[in-house]
């Protein structure tokens, strides 16, 4: 009995446990019998234990390089650094399924534990839904892609991790994304429970609001990590390509953002109930779609449908859940009528709805553009695709509208607003915006950026609005409590974390989009071939190819690349003088056909970009060495017996170093890119602030104060 058997056993029992949770939860939901609800809840806890066991067993196999495990043999090797051994687990299809369902069981256990005394009517059905989703993933693992598949005759050495993935950001990217996708399953499950039980009030939202926010935060962070990796590791120098896989993760984030706003409307005013349940259904669908798109190959390759074996079952599952959810929402529409009507157009409700509509619009555009190859083929017979110009051209102006809305929203209150009070609130931010525009036009060439200029102005506007909100809030608190300003500010923020955390997020988004605008409107890219000694000028940098570099078994980037060809470049800008060292890592191919030396140049090659970041602009350099002149030495090395391969490679490398041919360089100067990452950090900080729970004691103290007051008034009334 090997650990792979125990692992498979855990999955089998897990599937049974998940199905039990579905049955027991549904029964408890129907009959209201508490002991069955408790039993179903325990089944979810048990599922967590089983999946934890499975994860530990699989990771242990990776760490000890147990190549009888098919996954380990395909994704790891004895010389893979331990960090990448551990994280390689989710670079494989089966392993990532295990991670997904493990995260689902963890989050489900958390929410069921936290709500074990509440929501007694809808929690059992939610348990059933969560169990059902888990059962699907377990079913996929047991019948389509098992993480515990074993090889009859284990190889001596594994294939190693795909070098493109050997980067910390790329290793954290999938778990972050999955936490996001899984996190949105929780409100979805409770929404379904609420609909089934016709308890469509704000209870399901209150219980799962934090989970939605956590999911949103992790998903956003995962997306950001992915684009950071793309920019700093891949050889093309951009951070977003509107690639189907990227879009698949962005869409649920957009609907998730809409959801986080619109649930506030339901909590405060009892409106938008149908909208909210529909939105969370859509978000969950898009999250599943995001999980599935990466695996199916449906959009990557032409005319390939369900290339991976998982394509069909995923599609059936998504279609089933979609049809069932829509049917459920439609059947409960009488329970979803709003409590209230819109009082005035100038109100927070209306602006949140506008915000939602804009976000949905962006999502629809992305969806359309991503699936356009399939749509156009269905409609016209030819597959057509749209690229970044389509997405950028349409979405950029819409994003400006979104930022504008995010500046006005904080100034509004619920139901109705007095125009004169608003005018007063707008005065300072508007003035700052005007000053910003004038300054940008007078002192910079920002005008050439068109939409970028508008973005810069809006960012200044948003920032001013938020600072003003903090200031006005502190001042208001001081009139109530007389505290000194720093105390008032910290207590204000501490007691209104949702509000002020949200404002910080708005600033973060504005900063992020400012970075996007700056780097897309004002960047410069040059692709040149340079001989040693030659110089290229880009923006205000002079880049000179000084000399080539060769590294053998000395990978600067820590990915274990045996061979690295690069360059030392002297860069001058005004009176600054520094060097940059881009390189290209070569990983040997496993195939013997290319010869013992040739296979080093026939396997994967990755660009080791050198990036000099700065607050004003980034200088990005990548190199593509020209290896044609080395064909001779490589061929000669191939003819030698295998045991001389090492020396032959050294000879080839020395040949390159001594007589370097011109190399192809790509140089990119992107202004304000670093503000994208900074903005992202601000967003995360704001989200953390909004998520942070207020300490119990403070709440109880406030509660008793109010209770006493209300009690006094009650006795008088």
């Amino acid at each position: 009995m090997s650990s792979a058997d125990v692992g498979t056993a855990a999955l089998v029992v897990g599937l049974g446990t998940a199905l039990y949770a579905v049955g027991a939860g549904a029964y408890a939901g129907r009959t209201g019998r508490r002991e069955w609800a408790a039993s179903a809840r325990r089944a979810i806890y048990a599922l967590l234990g089983l999946l934890l066991l499975a994860m530990v067993l699989l990771e242990a196999a990776y760490v000890r390089s147990d190549f009888s495990f098919e996954l380990v043999a395909q994704n790891s090797s004895t010389d893979t650094p331990t960090f990448y051994k551990l994280t390689a687990m989710w670079s494989s299809q089966a392993g990532s399924l295990l991670l997904w369902v493990f995260l689902l069981s963890a989050f489900s256990s958390a929410v069921l534990f936290l709500t074990r005394r509440r929501l007694r009517e809808i929690a059992p059905y939610a348990t059933a839904v969560l169990g059902g989703v888990a059962a699907f993933f377990l079913f996929l693992m047991l019948f389509y892609a098992s993480p515990f598949a074993t090889l009859g005759s284990p190889p001596v050495e594994g294939s190693g991790l795909n070098p493109l993935l050997r980067h910390p950001a790329m290793m954290f990217h999938p778990p972050m994304l999955y936490t996001g996708y899984v996190g949105f399953t929780i409100p979805f499950a409770f929404a379904v429970g609420a609909l089934l039980k016709r308890r469509t009030g704000p209870e399901w939202i209150r219980a799962t609001r934090r989970f939605a926010l956590v999911a949103w935060t992790f998903l956003g962070f995962g997306i950001l990590l992915g684009s950071l990796w793309s920019y700093s590791e891949l050889g093309w120098g951009g951070y977003w390509a509107w690639d189907p896989v990227e879009n698949a993760s962005l869409m649920p984030w957009l609907t998730g953002t809409a959801f986080i706003h619109s649930i506030m409307v339901q909590e405060k005013r009892g409106m938008l109930r149908t909208w909210n349940v529909s939105l969370i259904v859509a978000t969950f669908m898009l999250a599943l779609l995001g999980t599935f798109l990466v695996r199916s190959g449906i959009l990557d390759s032409i005319h390939a449908f369900g290339e991976s074996t998982l394509g069909k079952p995923f599609l059936i599952f998504i279609a089933t859940v979609l049809i069932a959810s829509v049917a459920l929402v439609v059947s409960r529409r009488s329970d979803l009528r709003s409590d209230a009507r819109v009082d005035a157009l100038l109100s927070r409700e209306v602006f949140f709805l506008l915000n939602n509509l804009v976000l949905i619009l962006i999502c629809v555009v992305i969806f359309w553009g991503t699936f356009f190859p399939l749509i156009s083929e269905a409609l016209t017979g030819t597959e057509e695709s749209v690229g970044p110009p389509f997405f950028n051209g349409i979405i950029a102006p819409i994003a400006l509208v979104l930022v504008g809305l995010s500046a006005i929203g904080p100034l509004l209150t619920w139901r109705r607003n007095s125009f004169s009070l608003l005018r007063r609130a707008f005065a300072v931010p508007l003035a700052v915006a005007v000053v910003t525009v004038v300054a940008l036009l007078a002192f910079t060439d920002a005008a050439e950026g068109g939409l970028a200029l508008v973005m810069f102005t809006l960012a200044a506007f948003v920032a001013t609005v938020v600072v003003q909100e903090f200031w006005r809030g502190t001042r208001a608190r001081r009139t109530m409590t007389g505290e000194p300003p720093p105390v008032a500010l910290s207590r204000l923020v501490g007691r209104n974390r949702r509000r002020y955390g949200g404002y910080v997020v708005h600033v973060g988004i504005a900063v992020l989009l400012l970075g996007v605008a700056g780097s897309s409107s004002f960047n410069e890219q040059k692709d040149v071939r340079l001989e040693p000694g030659e110089t290229v000028t880009i923006k205000d940098y002079e880049v000179t190819y000084r000399e080539p570099t060769v590294a053998i078994e000395d990978d600067r980037s820590g990915t274990g690349a045996p061979l690295s060809f690069g360059a030392v470049l002297d860069v001058r800008k005004d009176d600054e003088h520094f060097t940059m060292r881009p390189a290209r890592n070569y990983y040997p191919s496993q195939s013997e056909a290319m010869g013992p030396v040739g296979r080093y140049f026939g396997g994967e090659a990755t660009s080791e970009v050198d990036l000099r970041w700065g607050l004003k602009q980034d200088l990005w350099l990548a190199i593509q060495p020209d290896l044609r002149k080395l064909k001779g030495p490589i061929r000669r090395g191939n003819e030698l017996p295998e045991r001389f391969a090492g020396q032959a490679i050294v000879a080839v490398a020395r040949h390159y170093a001594d007589d370097p041919p011109p190399a192809a360089f790509r140089a990119i100067v992107s202004p304000l890119v670093v503000w994208i990452w900074l903005g992202g950090g601000i967003v995360m900080a704001g989200a953390l602030l909004a998520l942070w729970p207020s300490p119990e004691a403070r709440r109880r103290r406030v509660t008793s104060l109010y209770a006493a007051r209300l009690g006094r008034e009650l006795s008088r009334a």
């Binding site: 019998r33 007694r120 608190r477 209300l710």
Partner: protein
């Protein structure tokens, strides 16, 4: 089938854990809304505080705030009454 043995062991452990609540049928009603009422109360207090903050910050005029505050407090009182009734106390 070397999977069967560990599967049986795991299943037995799980069954013990999961079936335990079923041995003692609960006498509690399916809808004990105390925790839900507490959550609703907290939410209502937050609304009252938010409204006051909006007023003091100048987003709400006094003419708009007073009736809103009264309405919200009325709703809070109703929740407190429900809570008290649950605990069997009389005011």
């Amino acid at each position: 089938m070397e999977v069967v043995l560990p599967a049986l062991v795991l299943a037995a452990v799980i069954a013990l854990l999961v079936l335990q609540p079923l041995r003692t049928p609960s006498t509690e009603s399916a809808s004990d809304p105390r925790a839900d009422l507490e959550a609703a109360k907290e939410a209502k207090y937050r609304e009252i505080k938010d409204a006051e903050l909006d007023f003091r910050m100048g987003k709400l005029s006094e003419a708009d705030w007073r009736p809103l505050d009264a309405e919200l407090r009325g709703q809070a009182i109703a929740i407190l009454r429900d809570l008290d009734r649950l605990e069997g106390r009389r005011m």
